[in-house]
Amino acid sequence: MANSDTFQIRTEEAPLLPAPVSTTGVIGWMRKNLFSSISNTILTIIGIWLAYSIIAPFIQFAFVDAVWTGENREACLPQDGGHSGACWAYVEAYFPQFIYGRYPTDQTWRVDIVFALFALLLVPLAIPSAPFKRTNAILFLVVLPIVSYFLLTGLVIGGAVVLPIVETAVWGGLLVTMVIAVTGIVASLPLGIALALGRRSKMPIIKLVSIIFIEFWRGVPLITVLFMSSVMLPLFLPEGVTFDKLLRVLIGVTLFSAAYMAEVVRGGLQAIPKGQYEGAMALGLRFWPMMYLIILPQALKLVIPGIVNTFIGLFKDTTLVLIVGMFDLLGQIQSSFTDPTWSTPSQGHTGYLFAAIVFFVFCFGMSRYSIFMEKKLHTGHKR
């Protein structure tokens, strides 16, 4: 065996390698996602510290130190100089006012019915697979507003009081927030569709008017629109005619959100392939039947997420009405701060925290829905 030294025969076992780094399980996951390098580890530690320094005081305030029951401010005053937590007893005492404002207590069932009807009609409308969409939509967009209007303001037929009149000055809280946001969206939808069609129209004057209208309202802040509707609108009306304050705000909000709605709808119209228009025209359909039967059903379905996002924006923006002296949820909470029975150092924080939670729950829920619809709709038009 001349070249036996070129062979190497291992006579003993190779040394055992350490087990490969775990890539599964908690440890492996942490190793991969949190501590893959030194800089990553530092980031992780900073992140955890950041999260802790925000979450810990929050839990301390909202739960640990919180006061859950009590009759008046005595319960919520800081004990022996320590930190005071959230005063949930105050929220509990004021809860009806946060929901209904100063709506007469014996009439609040009417508001409850409106809320219930709203939810009852909205849920099947929002579920894509629920049947009777068209009936449902008509009920929601036409019948519900009329019924709610009479339920909320009152109904007197020929002098007989069916439902006592409740003037809008006593409305408040979540009721006003919902009324402004929902009316704003429902009323701005047809206006927005008309403007979107107008902007795409071939008739120059109509196009120009639509563009000016849309760009004007999109260019100015909502707060100036609200000031305008509360201070300037009365000047536009003939002598002796006055609009209810809520109605004035609604007009301002509707015009404002119609401009945004128009842009959302225009996006949907643009996404419809030209072939659809051409096909409809080839069938001899005129403009309105073409829009009503072919284009709008497709376009509106596409823009549902956009409408929901506009609604979220409007829902948040309703808080601005407190600047013109109306009592939406935030305004109502703020006005309750003046009550000496509940005045404590933590009252303001508790009130704002409650408002933040309510708005977050509504807006987050809606944005999840919008994302769900987006994913669902995404498949249809992919080419």
Binding site: K202, T224, L235, F236, E239
Partner: protein, 405 residues
Amino acid sequence: MSVMEQDSAGAPARASLVNDPKYRGYFYQLLLVVLLVTLGYVIVTNTIANLERQNIASGWGFLENTAGFGIIQSLAPYSETSSYGQAIFVGFLNTVLVAVVGIFFATIIGFIVGIARLSNNWVISRIAYCYVELIRNVPLLLQIFFWYFAVLRAVPQKREKWSFFFDTFHLNIAGLRGPKPIWEPGAEFIGYALIIGIVATIAVSRWARKKQDATGEQFPVFWTGLGLIVGLPIITYFVTGMPMTLEHPNFVEEGPILRRGFELGVGFNLIPEFLALTAALAIYTAAFIAEIVRAGIQAVSHGQTEAANALGLRQGPTLRLVIIPQAMRVIIPPLTSQYLNLTKNSSLAVAIAFPDLVSVGGTVLNQTGQAIEIIGIWMAVYLSLSLITSAFMNWYNQRMALVER
């Protein structure tokens, strides 16, 4: 259409005017014009009648009258004896200041959070996600109140202070104080030097790009630019005999108690209303910008990242040189509308006593009763700010657009 309606017999059947889309178009447009003119006429006559009946003056003469009220922060000379016109101008400058500072910070925070959302680090991406969802779903007004009252409660009272940066900046409930530059004759040369520095930097960066295109050699543009922009003014400062001094805030600790604390009008001061408003606007808008940035980065094909990795680029340069420039094309249009939103949202200053355009205008409105003129000014200013911002961003967008062969 009318052409198609000719019947086969060859006789050109004149379609009735009602069915002719062209004429129908004219009719609709005429109808619209008539309606708008009628509406306008009704509004104008009603308004004039109401103004006369209520004895409210109209016209722009009031802008010359003495305002008589004080404004806490002004970038232009202003006192109680200034006119309403000057007061509104001061408000306008404050709006612009909030918008510019807010946009600057919102962009930085937004990009950081947007990139953090795509981080491989689970903790970081979760925190970014929570930030975005929490901030986006709570009304801005609520956040402004939160920041304002949180800031007020957290910082030292008026006669105490926190100092930082070697005792040059101080924070207390009256605001953030720092040194104010006082310009003396000859100081304009420093300004010229700064402009020259900026122009030179642009020139150098162009030259460096050409050189890199031609030879592949890199030139340290960043450091050269920094040297030019910072160095030139500093050299000029010393050459011209130091024509600028810093006026430091004066913290009084003795004397009548109300005079203690920082002396009014000495040094540079950012009032807490400004800090809270800017912070709220920047943090709120940043959440939206973060989503735009994330979408923009995700829109860049993954192949680009892989190609960059294959070329041996590290993560930082990949992001900076490959991903972001391409993502910018997707990012800029929605970014523009966020900038516009921030500018418009700055009008919420009215809720926390920051004297912006809407707040000062509201005071003037209240004193003069001239609602139409004031609201007209508001609308005109915001519309022009919107137009200017969109024009600038469109220009930038065109520069960034993909140059196709």
